[in-house]
Point group: C2
Chain length 335, copies 2
């Protein structure tokens, strides 16, 4: 692999000259050297080493994105958009599993990235990443649902999950439902939030779990079966995510239960598929994509701008949005 020296020797100038030409630094060289350098660089297929550059400049042009399940539709969409955005600013995207923040902390400490985007639930946890910032050039931003309060020390775009949950439950309550099953999946998640909101609306509710949710659709179908056996039987199902809801639709159909006549179903997330299942699913849209874009945009601008201004902590709150479609109706008579 050709180094900057090879180019310099080939042209008969010093490495610094080559560096200046290639980076368009001021102290404009004579047009002739300029040309010869560019020419030699092209002919030698020269490409500056990113590690070497990063070492001396303290800048990697990498944004690390911490995201729990990049194979879920919303994170995946966000990732794809972030990818395009980063690319348009000359940044690369580094993926981090982000089960907790430890991996991102390492990335920051090891100087693998200039920007860290914490894109997962519990935005407020991103505050903890600030301690890992080891370089004034590094920026931390966050995007996702806030469980409690938004983060304090960083730039973040978020929504409030319990607001979305409430809008779904209010919709069901307004239709006349009183007994609702919450399809919770395997882990603990919004169960508490659900209970609190349900209580406020004086709804009877039952939380349904499942052992494994590796196949979310199957888990949804399973939980729907469980829900049907509850006594008294609930008149509506509220799923923790859209995949559970779509799976539940399938389970109910197999059990001969008509949706929405015999049973209402509400999803959570608002992924594209919800508009094309049968019947189209009533669900709550959560603005993951928009939050990610806002946060990353801000970070990229801060990193790209010539001014050495630090990105000011700030929060942008976006709204969830209830999308009423065809899986919700009043409960059957006599219920």
């Amino acid at each position: 692999m050709a180094t900057i020296r090879d180019v310099a020797e080939k042209v008969g100038v010093s490495p610094s000259t080559v560096s200046r030409v290639l980076n368009g630094r001021r102290g404009y060289c004579s047009e002739s050297t300029r040309r010869r350098v560019l020419d030699a660089a092209r002919r030698l297929n020269y490409c500056a080493s990113a590690p070497a550059r990063a070492l001396v400049q303290g800048k990697t042009n990498v944004v690390a994105i911490g995201c729990e399940s990049p194979d879920d539709p919303h994170p995946a969409q966000m990732l794809a958009a972030a990818q395009r955005l980063a690319e348009s600013h000359g940044f690369h995207v580094l993926l981090s599993p982000a089960e907790d923040s430890s991996d991102l902390v390492r990335i920051l400490r090891e100087q693998r990235a200039d920007i860290v985007l914490w894109a997962r639930s519990a935005v407020e946890l991103a505050d903890g990443l600030l301690d890992a910032v080891s370089n004034p050039q590094q920026v931390v931003v966050a995007a996702g649902p806030a469980n409690t309060a938004p983060p304090q020390g960083i730039f973040a775009a978020y929504w409030i999950d319990w607001e979305g949950i409430r809008s779904a439950l209010q919709h069901l309550a307004a239709l006349g439902h009183r007994r609702i099953a919450f399809l919770a999946g395997a882990g603990q998640g919004k169960d508490e939030m659900f209970k609190v909101e349900a209580a406020k609306l004086k709804l009877q509710m039952h939380v349904v779990y499942v052992d494994s949710e590796v196949d979310k659709f199957a888990a949804g179908a399973d939980m729907a079966q469980h829900a049907l056996r509850l006594q008294p039987r609930p008149t509506a199902l509220f799923a923790r995510n859209d995949e559970f809801a779509i799976g539940a639709l399938h389970g109910l159909n197999e059990a001969g239960v008509k949706v929405p006549d015999d049973m209402s179903v509400v999803g959570y997330g608002g992924i594209p598929a919800t508009g094309y299942c049968h019947p189209p699913l009533t669900t709550v849209y959560t603005p993951f994509l928009e939050c990610g874009t806002i946060a990353l945009q801000a970070a990229l601008q801060a990193c790209t701008s010539n001014t050495k201004s630090v990105l000011q902590p700030a929060t942008t709150k976006l709204e969830t949005h209830l999308m009423v479609r065809a899986t919700t109706a009043p409960p059957p008579r006599g219920q």
Copy 2:
């Protein structure tokens, strides 16, 4: 940020000693220095700089994955699996848009990654990346559908798209279908392959396009409407991907066309959602996940093993698999 020198000074030894201790190099130091070094490193929150290390070692512990649409279910699943695999070997994942190979070429040349996984259609194009390898430690592997022949010079896991297409068409032909519409989307893709295979089976076919496929489900619904207006009307729809097929199901349902009684539908891809739409979709499973895992596994082992053996070029061919479900049946009588 603490450097190796800070640690050395704190303990009162030289930087090399610290380096040796931290990297477990032989020439075991005395247990006491060892302890004091580890202790100081922890207290100072020391973390070796990845760029500095990469510069001197020529190793980044990064795998770059080139993948067209990380928000499609199959690529996303593959990515998530690759992520876990990479992590378990101490590697990070760098995402590349990979519309063509130019971005990956730069990544290789700039020494941003030790491994490049070309994970998209036209596996054979990955051969071109070999020219960009600038370091004997770098490895290129590929996973995805081969359009023509498998790649020659690298390790690759692939399947043959036209075999999958053929299995779908054979299934339809065996059911008695003679007129088939191919829902092709906006771009050019498997159109040619489809035509060739259809001709072999003496099937009449019509290719349906759509202007935009940003919303694939909507595009599928649109194309289904178009297909219904064809004269004579086809008795089966074969979609280029599962999203188109699911959208088509929706469009047909809205038009009052019964599936599979009035119209058969076949998808392509075999994403999880196909088992949970209504009716469950007959489709062809393509082993993207498996291919990606095989290729990456090989690359990681080659990079991790102590032996300085280069990864030998080799190809693994996996099979597509027709999954017959509930959207295909013989054509209506008199057709």
